[in-house]
């Protein structure tokens, strides 16, 4: 594959950490969110296989097949989200406690009035209220001290990681 084209089959594979981190039970949350990176690696492997299999075709399938395969993952993600509930954290943020309890009860497969649901909701609410006391952040805050230094440290690390190939 000397050319620039479909190298990014894997890009469609994103089980999406924000949604995961707000819906997964605490004891397995770390693993589930980390699995995101793993899925990307599997995607890269699949991409290499498909690219290799189609690269020498003498028709437009040589580039259309590997690109179009990405639609599969994207559609799986879309239709999966159709059936999954909104995150309780977002609903709490929007002051919608009833819906948050309902969403959490579906995610945990427990009745809405179960004590574990109430306890976890209370924790989510407490975290949200704590965050509100910290005030609003903006992108500009990233470019002002004291955050600027860590911003540059993070950017430097990411850049160096890329530069090592």
């Amino acid at each position: 594959m000397a050319t620039a084209s479909p190298k990014h089959l894997a890009d469609g594979l994103g089980p999406v950490p924000l949604y995961q981190s707000e819906t997964a039970p605490k004891w397995i949350r770390g693993f589930i969110v980390s699995a995101y990176q793993w899925a990307i690696t599997i995607g890269l492997l699949l991409a290499a296989l498909v690219n290799n299999a189609t690269a020498n075709r003498d028709d437009s399938g040589s580039y259309r097949i590997p690109i179009a395969v990405q639609l599969a993952w994207s559609l799986i993600l879309f239709f999966g989200m159709v059936f999954l509930p909104e995150t309780p954290r977002f609903l709490i943020k929007k002051d919608n406690a009833d819906k948050a309890a309902l969403a959490l009860s579906r995610l945990r497969r427990l009745p809405v009035d179960h004590e574990a649901i109430a306890a976890e909701l209370a924790e989510v609410r407490a975290t949200h209220e704590f965050e509100m006391t910290l005030g609003k952040g903006s992108y500009m805050d990233c470019l002002r001290p004291p955050i600027l230094k860590r911003q540059l440290t993070g950017m430097g690390l990411q850049a160096l990681q890329q530069l090592t190939g």
Partner: protein, 118 residues
């Protein structure tokens, strides 16, 4: 990919004597995806806070789908570029709709910060 190189070439002949895209065209095609990702990632928190994580993800997948359809249908560079930009935008929206958040979310639960960072 000889077929693609020939089809997308605008007349440039590479060192091996085959029609191909120019190095600068190739660079543009490669990097416009990252440009899309950049803007997607920046827009992601606004989308996910405004319409919600679930609806935000569902919208983002269709931004990506638009990009995929565009560069699947393309038979020349301009549409291919457009497709890759939108695919990048979708990827940025989808993946950033979380990259920053596990840290924020889990840091409030103590040591899970390290486990969740990916």
């Amino acid at each position: 990919m000889p077929y693609w190189q020939q089809l997308f070439s605008t007349g440039y002949i590479d060192a091996n004597g085959n029609p191909n895209v120019t190095p600068s065209q190739e660079s543009a095609i490669v990097s416009i995806l990252s440009a899309g990702t950049f803007f997607g990632a920046l827009c992601s928190p606004f989308l996910s806070d405004y319409v919600g994580r679930r609806m935000g993800l569902m919208i983002s997948t269709w931004v990506f789908n638009l990009g995929v359809v565009l560069h699947t249908a393309a038979t020349a560079i301009p549409m291919f570029l457009a497709g890759r930009f939108f695919a990048g935008l979708g990827v940025g929206l989808i993946s950033a709709m979380g990259k920053w958040m596990p840290h924020v979310v889990t840091s409030n639960h103590g040591n899970r910060l390290t486990k969740a960072s990916c």
